[in-house]
Amino acid sequence: MLLEIKNLHAKVEGNEILKGINLKVDLGEVHAIMGPNGSGKSTLASVLAGKEEYEVTEGEIWFKGKNLLELNPEDRAREGIFLAFQYPVEIPGVSNTNLLKTAVNEIRKYNGEEELDSIDFLKLLKEKSKLVELDQKFLSRSVNEGFSGGEKKRNEIFQMAVLNPKLAVLDETDSGLDIDALKIVANGVNKLKTKDNATIVVTHYQRLLDYIIPDFVHVLYKGKIVKSGGKELALELEEKGYDWIKSDKAEIVA
């Protein structure tokens, strides 16, 4: 098992957002996590990445057999967790190339591999930028500075391609994208998919799942996974809307 989440509870600023999540993700799988606004989707993504403001109050997360909650954010990344941010941050003066070179080599060092020299590194960048159809001029530009919404998201997928994670978590990667940008991003994710990695797609809308076909769909509501199923669950949600889940859930509780 690549990732196992057991009874996860998490708080932000005193409010409990996650109230007992259970999830198993294996290599080669694509999981979609859907749910209405405020259900805790992004919180789950942030907790996996180790964002400090999110306090885990109960439960466990195991990643590659390691207790993830004991690792700091950078070590989680080095172990192979990649978060494609919903709102990628701008870092003026730091070029994409510079960030990625530092990141790649830190990850390699952590895993006992030799650092890449500049020639091999640039080759890697070139190859991966083609894969996600990113114009090479972005490589020398400051990270996300002055990028359009679509460019930022594409840049996230590009970074993911270069860092080659075990588990990619895409947090609302489809938000703010027009259909062409969406296709390019989804295409990139699909190309990066192998038997040896896994993807968690966090999304509000079904439309991304037209392009990234999930093996499993989970519906998150009020901090709990209330329904799990195959890709057809996403379609059902699309058709009936989240109110269906809400009323359904109300019945369960009642």
Binding site: R76, R78, L100, T102, A103, E106, Y110
Partner: protein
């Protein structure tokens, strides 16, 4: 600044200077105190001609009429100018017998900077074996410079060997009446560097104090004079990225640059004097007057500085743009951490027609430090079509530090175009988390962000210096976040 901070700084500043250096009093040291007799003795010991002695005395007499300035945004306890010895033999005995006796923290910093072992010894004040590479390197360089007619020597040597040049230019940019510290320096300056680039000569290498034997011992009142004659070019490097420790707390240097027709002087500084410990104790006061005169038409002077050291920095490298079409530039990175205080900036005085100036100042404050930019752009009556662009950015790390900007603009000619941009930003938790998530540690993340922020200035530094400056910046800010 909050009152508690002020109190703290006062408290700390009032603590006695108790840095543990023990230096043997050599026979060749003047007693503490300052008076005309001391200055005469000092001048005599340096075997100076009468005109030099007289110049010093004039400065001293003027100094007596002046008051220590307190307009800058720094606080420090009163300095007892009678408690300083104004001359000690240039060659001090080694402070330590071997590296084992040196503060391991200091050695650790040297190691991080990648400084070779032999150099570490020199910097830390350890006795060095008779043959040291850079000595022979220096001699080779000197031969080459001599062939081209370039004069590059200590100030004392210049007074002896090139009195006409010294007489002509000394005090011509920074007069002995200029300001309290510059006037004090004029009276008691110990030594320094002298550079003259003859007409039409492009100095083929970066001139650095590093290559001058005994450069480390120029003392606390250093004096530098650089003259680029018509169509000449020189790039001069001052300082050193390695932290320099010194038993003298007050440093009041003067640097004068003279650029004649079509000439260019590029002056780069990396200043890393001992800032004191975490509480600011024992740090150096660096009160410097640096000024360049673009006398000739089409001349250009660029100041580039990376300031990370000293407990207090008070420094405004300036350009007087006299020649028509002359250009002045100032690129600065000033970092303050812990209890450091910096009040630094520049003055661009436009006098000639079509003169241009550029100011790029990047301040970084961390810890409980205070970082101020103070800049003046003045356009004189006759300075038709003068243009200035100023950019002053401040970056804050943490919430206990301060950044201040004091721009002064005085325009006496309606054709002037002056632009001023200023920003203040904080390194965001979200930026750091973003980089963490890419596998980069918090310390490396801060270093990436800060170096990115300073890029515009670093690209003005000579290549090797720029690389070292980047490393230095990371070390200076170590532990300031997270």
């Amino acid at each position: 600044m909050s009152t508690t901070e002020t109190q703290k700084i006062e408290e700390l500043a009032n603590k006695e200077y108790e840095f543990g250096f023990v230096t043997d009093i050599e026979s060749d040291t003047l007693p503490k105190g300052l008076n005309e007799d001391i200055i005469r003795q000092l001048s005599a010991k340096k075997q100076e001609p009468e005109w030099m002695t007289e110049w010093r005395l004039k400065a001293y007499r003027h100094w007596l009429t002046m008051e220590e300035p307190h307009w800058s945004n720094v606080t420090f306890p009163p300095i007892d100018y009678q408690d300083i010895s104004y001359y000690s033999a240039p060659k001090s005995t080694p402070k330590y017998k071997s590296l084992d006796e040196v503060d391991p923290e200091l050695l650790n910093t040297y190691k991080k900077l990648g400084i070779p072992l032999e150099e570490q010894k020199i910097l830390a004040g350890v006795a060095v074996d008779a043959v040291f590479d850079s000595v022979s390197v220096a001699t080779t360089f000197k031969d080459k410079l001599n062939e081209m007619g370039i004069i590059f020597c200590s100030f004392s040597e210049a007074i002896r060997e090139h009195p006409d040049l010294v007489k002509k230019y000394l005090g011509s940019v920074v007069p002995y009446t200029d300001n309290y510290y510059a006037t004090l320096n004029s009276a008691v300056f110990s030594d320094g560097s002298f550079v003259y680039i003859p007409k039409g000569v492009r100095c083929p290498m970066e001139l650095s104090t590093y290559f001058r034997i005994n450069a480390a011992n120029t003392g606390q009142f250093e004096r530098t004079l650089i003259i680029a004659d018509d169509n000449a070019y020189v790039s001069y490097l001052e300082g050193c990225t390695a932290p320099m420790r010194d038993e003298n707390q007050l440093h009041a240097a003067v640097v004068e640059l003279v650029a004649l027709e079509n000439s260019q002087i590029k002056y780069s500084t990396v200043q890393n004097w001992y800032p004191g410990d975490k509480d600011g104790k024992g740090g150096i006061y660096n009160f410097v007057t640096k000024r360049g005169a673009c006398r000739g038409t089409n001349s250009k002077i660029s100041w580039t500085q990376v300031e990370t050291g000293s407990a207090i920095t008070w420094k405004y490298p300036s350009c007087i743009l006299q020649g028509d079409n002359s250009i002045g530039e100032f690129y600065s990175v000033a970092v303050t951490n812990n209890m450091q205080q910096a009040d630094t900036g520049t003055k661009m005085i436009h006098l000639g027609k079509n003169t241009r100036s550029t100011i790029v100042s990047k301040g970084i404050s961390a810890g409980r430090s205070n970082n101020s930019y103070r800049g003046l752009v003045r356009v004189g009556k006759k300075a038709e079509n003068a243009r200035n662009f100023s950019q002053c950015d401040s970056l804050l790390l943490g919430d206990k530090c301060g950044a201040h900007t004091f721009p002064y603009i005085e325009i006496d000619n309606p054709t002037a175009q002056v632009e001023h941009e200023a920003t203040t930003s904080k390194i965001g938790e979200d930026q750091i988390f973003y980089l963490n998530q890419r596998g980069i540690s918090t310390e490396d993340a801060v270093s990436l962000i800060v170096n990115g922020y300073c890029k515009e200035v670093f690209k003005e530094l000579p290549m090797e210096f720029a690389v070292e400056a980047q490393k230095l910046l990371s070390i200076s800010l170590e532990g300031s976040v997270g």
